[in-house]
Amino acid sequence: MVDMTNYAIKAEGLTKHYGDTIALDGIDLAVPEGSVLGVLGPNGAGKTTAVRILATLLQPDAGHATVAGHDVLRDPTAVRRSIGLTGQYASVDEQLTGRENLELFARLLDFSRPDARARATELLGQFGLTEAADRRIKTYSGGMRRRLDLAASLVGRPEVIFLDEPTTGLDPSKRDDVWNLVRMLTAEGTSVLLTTQYLEEADALADAITVIDLGKVIAHGTAAELKQIVGGRSLQVRPTNPRDTADIRAVLSRITGRPVEEPTRGLLTTPIEDEKDFTDVVVDLAARGIPVTEIALKLPSLDEVFFTLTGKGVPDDAPADLDKEPVS
């Protein structure tokens, strides 16, 4: 069957070595036009190397890639005209003001002087930086810097945007800011390749997720598909009084017919197949008058997906799973 999808980014077999270190070991990536691909992996997985190759900053040792229909090796200039890059660290000039930075990039993209000024003003407004426009970047907070960095990558209205760990090092409220900006972009139909080590971020922003580790793709799919890999849901109960633990354990194992585990102290979990079991547990506990602090039907989190795929944990700062569905 012929693949009729138009791809904003299509990479096949990208390989990059640094001496004996293999940064990329033949990875394939595909971003259909207008979609967001989350490239998920721990530190050192090769995410940034892949972005740098696709943004024509690095040449691959093997493999080929097209971005916005242009070959990254044969026509890098055309690729550069079509992309916006937001690096892991704010890639703007610290000594210049926000406005000067945006005008500089606009001028380098061949905007006339008045057009550059207008585009800078427009972006500063869009990103809530009008008041800080004439301050030097080094006086900006981390969140403002990230916003300016995003704005800078949009100056030329690119078709494809690379966001390399856009929220690394930001506190949660600033992270929400950046997420909203990314959503705003994607609502306008821009294609985005987003790298992240935050599972929650990929889940929240991406249409599809490619999981990479040690330079290899280890899984690809939607968030829901990846969760299928790990399997079913589980029921979590947290007793209010520790002395009820044994009784609750008995109720759970009788109704679900499955073993009950206590992964962390004071939290009982058991696999659940039939949703009716959940209701039964709630009714049974209520009838016995056993109080619980928390009772939830839980989908496997991306943390668990990652653990299942790689056999190792995710970084400590990975956020809590999104999929908890508290019901009481």
Binding site: N6, S82, L85, S91, V92, E94, D110, F111, A152, G156
Partner: protein, 269 residues
């Protein structure tokens, strides 16, 4: 599935200029100048140093070397001027070495501009610093009693000659800045190379009193030819041959080190 790709406005707005490389370099030179203006301490070496050196050489050593401080000033001013300018060519390597570690160069590389434009832009801005040094040296010399005996055009030609030579030489510093891990080592290597080039020349004393082996070096040192040409342009004397050799060497340096520097910049991940 069909899809329409709308061209980004930037492409439609692109003016029909045949020299985007020049325009981009010029825009980036503007960035460097802005940065310089915000760090006035960057001008210390190019403003205070020539004055300080002139005073040390003329008032401390001049009498002993040439019998009178005024005679020595007439002799040494072109030397001090050239020495200060040549030493200030090192700083572009140091600055680019630190600058490039900031993310903004990643963005330059991701833009549809020539890879060399950020480097060329930085060198254009450096020419401003060199011009300031040349101006300050001449003014300080004039205040101390230095007098030119040629036309204003000759004086301008002397300034231009020094500027062109320094501009070519600064590509060595850029190349060092690209291949060095630390900014400090750029300065170390740069100064180490400049000592024999400047002191081992006709800048501070005539080669006649030097031992034979040193005289041999001084006579082939391009800085000697540059100094002699500038001397000729400021206070009279033969110019053409020395200027030709100085410019030829500068051109050779540029032809070798500018491509090396740009290549090192391209491959610097």
């Amino acid at each position: 599935m069909t899809s329409t790709i709308t061209l980004p406005d930037a492409i439609e707005q692109r003016p029909a200029s045949s020299m985007p490389w020049v325009r981009h370099s010029w825009t980036l030179a503007g960035r460097s100048v802005k940065k310089m203006m915000r760090h006035p301490e960057q001008f210390f070496d190019v403003t205070l140093q020539p004055v300080l050196f002139l005073m040390i050489f003329v008032y401390v050593l001049g009498g002993a070397i040439a019998g009178s401080t005024h005679d020595y000033l007439q002799f040494v001013l072109p030397g001090i001027l050239i020495q200060t300018v040549l030493f200030s060519t090192v700083s572009i390597g140091v600055n680019l070495n630190t600058d490039i570690k900031e993310g903004v160069f990643d963005r330059f590389k991701s833009l549809p501009i020539a890879r060399s434009a950020p480097l060329v832009g930085a060198t254009i801005a450096e020419c401003l610093r060199y011009s300031i040094t040349i101006g300050i040296s001449l003014i300080a010399g004039f205040v101390m009693g230095y007098r030119t005996s040629t036309s204003i055009l000759d004086v301008l030609a002397a300034c231009l000659l020094v500027l062109v030579f320094a501009w070519c030489l600064c590509w060595i510093a850029i190349w060092l800045g690209m291949i060095s891990r630390e900014a400090g080592s750029v300065q170390g290597i740069g100064f180490m190379a400049l000592f024999p080039l400047t002191f081992g020349s006709s800048m501070f004393a005539s080669a006649d009193t030097m031992p034979g082996w040193l005289r041999a070096w001084v006579n082939v040192n391009p800085v000697t030819h540059l100094t002699d040409a500038v001397r000729g342009l400021l206070t009279g004397g033969p110019v053409a041959e020395d200027a030709f050799i100085a410019l030829g060497t500068a051109g050779l340096i540029l032809a070798v080190f500018a491509p090396l520097a740009v290549r090192a910049y391209r491959t610097k991940a």
